[in-house]
Amino acid sequence: MKILQVVQSAYRTLVEEQDDTIIWLCENLHCAGADISVLLTGNASFYAVQSKTQPGVRIGDWVQTQPADITRDLANLAEFNVPVYVIKEELAERGLLEKPLLPGVHLMDRRDLSGLYDFFDQVWQW
């Protein structure tokens, strides 16, 4: 069973698990045996061109020492051979098209989206 994981919500990364919780879940599902691919959409498109660890926050005297590292998490997916897709038009409308994509992230045209959806048995939109 092939499953497309559609990640849309972004940047809750500094408080919930100190990562993107759905990317984290995807890593876990892969390790548990699921055959998955990931589509970064909406503002999660930013993840495809992220180059640094997220900035940690300071709240009062509390200082964050382990902020989210989305680049590392996407590198993990690439190492697991989990395909990750991002839509060209969604990068363009956010002014991100000129930025280099992270290794393992595949750029696709929006017009090919229906073909991508067709390839999978289930689509889990988060």
């Binding site: 017009r111 229906s114 073909g115 959806y117 067709d118 939109q125």
Partner: protein
Amino acid sequence: MSSYFFVQSLDPFVDRATDTQFSLMSELAAAGNEVSLFLVQNGVVSAASQAVSPEFDKLLDAGIKIYADKFSLWQREIELTQLKKHIESAELHVVIQAMVNGEKVIWN
């Protein structure tokens, strides 16, 4: 070809991604897939005949089966007679049936 069943809880007036989702439904239908749409929560707002929602309106003649959740309509006092053409009011059982049938059921 596949069967898609979208559950649309967000509306295009607040959430811009809703129009993108409607476009995807049109494209999937145009590619020959069987596409159904179940409007629920604020998703039913587009179904009212006076609602201005051009991307949604394109779905009405796209061969897509469109349902509107009776409970959500009732909450918003949208009468069945106020619905746009080709929209059928329905219970959530329709969503469960689509899942049991093995359709690709996608929540937005």
